[in-house]
């Protein structure tokens, strides 16, 4: 057989293999994204289109009435509550967690046992925690208040922040801190002026995940909110109901609550692997 023929056949085989992989990739993406597509489409449909059998695969026109209802009824306040709770608890957890992580990374405070205890708190089942916390908050009058949930979200995010930031701090060479100390900087100043700027990228990445954890939480909010600080996942479940599921509202509220997360995670793509593997895989 001539040489070009062999090369030709190899070329063809490689390309048909690539085409096959593309086909599989496109099929997978369609399957995994179809439910998301469906959710977005429902939010744009009119009631007639939603409750139509067989289902309509796409709305006739993009209309925002389903969203307008949420704004008119004031239900959209739930998004604001989620924003405040997730935002404030993220800032708190990030600050407290990073300085604690510095202590662990540079001084080995408490040794390995303390580090294991901290990360194991991340794995505690929320249901077992939320029950005693609920009784405590009833006694303190903290049910359905910002402070109660912020404190709880901060506590639940702390192990993650400490664990992640310990990794990021360990990646930073210590010489800079040492020379700043030699120059007569105080410990706090070194932390603020040297360490924080050095781990800035890690801080942002960790903040995104901390925010998403609090933002997506359901069980704490279900138990500990009523009306004043109700969050968007709980609001979504309020539209469930035996006879009349308010599909339009479920979809519109879900989209409002999902879109910010999609944007944040897409921006943070670079840190995704490290973020969701608790820092075990440095992507």
């Amino acid at each position: 057989m001539s040489v070009p023929a062999v090369a030709m056949r190899r070329w063809r085989r490689r390309h048909s293999w690539l085409a096959l992989r593309y086909l599989a990739a496109i099929c997978l993406t369609v399957i995994f994204l179809f439910p998301v597509y469906w959710l977005f489409m429902i939010s744009f449909k009119t009631p007639d289109e939603i409750y139509h059998s067989p289902p309509v695969w796409y709305p006739a026109s993009l209309q925002f009435a389903n969203y307008a209802v949420l704004f008119k009824d004031g239900d959209v306040i739930a998004i604001w509550h989620s924003l405040v709770l997730a935002g404030v608890s993220t800032v708190l957890a990030l600050f407290l967690g990073t300085i604690a992580a510095y202590s662990l990374a540079r001084f080995r405070t408490g040794g390995e046992n303390l580090a294991v205890w901290i990360i194991s708190q991340r794995m505690i089942p929320p249901i077992a925690v939320v029950f005693p916390i609920f009784l405590l908050y009833v006694w303190l009058g903290w049910v359905d208040s910002y402070i109660g949930l912020i404190l709880l979200y901060t506590a639940f995010n702390l192990p993650y922040v400490i664990w992640m930031m310990r990794g990021y701090i360990a990646d930073v060479p210590m010489e800079l801190e040492e020379s700043a100390l030699v120059d007569g900087c105080s410990r706090w100043r070194v932390l603020w002026r040297v360490v924080f700027p050095m781990v800035r990228a890690g801080l942002f990445a960790t903040a995104v995940f901390t925010f998403v954890f609090a933002w997506n939480d359901f069980i704490f909010a279900l138990v500990l909110t009523r009306t004043e600080v109700i969050t968007f996942p709980v609001q979504v479940t309020h539209y469930f109901g035996g006879q009349s599921n308010f599909w339009a509202k479920i979809a519109a509220m879900s989209v409002l609550g999902t879109l910010p997360v999609f944007v944040a995670v897409t921006v943070m793509q670079r840190f995704l692997v490290r973020g969701i593997s608790l820092g075990a895989v440095k992507g």
């Binding site: 995994f32 469906w38 662990l104 540079r106 194991s120 005693p132 360990a170």
Partner: protein
């Protein structure tokens, strides 16, 4: 490079003498103290409180705080519904975890070789994982709907005849329904981590074995699998611990129904505490769950490279 985090920097041994001054010793405790204090709210308080309350006889109407002995714990052993809930949780974990791992591995294998536009596919495929689980569950409830959902339609088209499955009500289909939603949401998680791991397998080693004429499976078991093993175990650990605590998806899809058929330990605890108001008994369950899981987690973490 994929590296299992070596944890505490080894360099920290090399701190110069300045750092061991008395002021520094204070500083290192000062900066960790606030975090520890906040952590005690979830790490210690619930444990102690549950323990105390579980030895009393509190319900919604009964406010007797006198010592009730081990009644609540004795009741745990005779509570069939509790053991069923534990079994349901175990079943869901045992089925979902291997499936997610296998599917994730297959998907990662598909994308591991270079292909133009790979980044876009990966970015799109991870989206299900970051959706709020309650939204995911609600969304699948809409998809599964017999009259207005698309799944009935698609299945009928494939079968060539009308198919009506009440996914959330039919005892034979609640578990498949829950598992489909669960696997849809978390396979991308496995996929992403395994893709990172696979991308870092030593290529020169693979090429060398190729020259030696090693088969695909031989290469997979001798080179690839050992290389991705650490990441795989961590991914499985994280997923397993999430699965054991599963609540949101089931709450949105079935609320534990039909009857108590899909009740997991989290759902059961919630129902006992917040629908039936069995305060002391719930505390006993909560205590059991915390102790059980903390023991497993601590054991697993200490065994894993993640800590060292």
């Amino acid at each position: 490079m994929t590296a299992v985090d070596s944890g505490i920097s080894r360099r920290s041994h090399g701190l110069n003498h300045r750092l061991s001054l008395a002021a520094d010793r204070q500083f290192k405790y000062l900066i960790i103290a606030p975090a520890i204090l906040v952590l005690l709210l979830i790490g210690l308080f619930p444990l102690i409180y549950s323990l105390v309350v579980s030895f009393q006889g509190l319900t919604m109407t009964e406010e007797d705080t006198s010592f009730a002995g081990f009644t609540n714990y004795a009741r745990l052993f005779h509570d069939l519904r509790l053991w069923q809930a534990l079994a349901h949780t175990a079943i869901i974990t045992a089925v979902a975890l291997p499936l997610e791992l296998l599917l994730g591995l297959l998907m990662a294998q598909l994308f591991v070789d270079r292909m133009p536009g790979r980044q876009i596919f990966v970015a799109l495929l991870v989206l299900p994982t970051v959706i709020s689980p309650i939204v995911a569950g609600a969304n699948w409830a809409l998809l599964f709907d017999v009259r207005f959902g698309p799944i009935t339609q698609i299945l009928s088209f494939i079968a060539g005849q009308p198919v009506t499955i009440l996914w959330t009500l039919n005892p034979y289909f609640v578990y498949p329904g829950i598992l489909i939603c669960e696997i849809w949401q978390w396979t991308p998680f496995m996929f992403l981590l395994l893709l990172a791991a696979l991308s870092n397998v030593d290529q020169s080693q693979l090429e060398a074995s190729e020259i030696d004429g090693a088969s695909y499976w031989r290469k997979f078991f001798k080179i690839v699998l050992p290389a991705i093993w650490p990441v795989m175990t961590i991914a499985c650990l994280i997923r397993a611990l999430d699965l054991v605590r599963i609540f949101d998806i089931i709450w949105a899809l079935t609320q534990g129904g039909p009857g108590t058929m899909s009740e997991t330990i989290s759902i059961y605890t919630y129902v006992q505490g917040f629908s039936d108001f069995e305060t002391s008994y719930t505390a006993a369950i909560a205590f059991l769950v915390i102790v059980l899981l903390t023991a497993i987690v601590t054991f697993a973490l200490k065994r894993m490279e993640i800590v060292r």
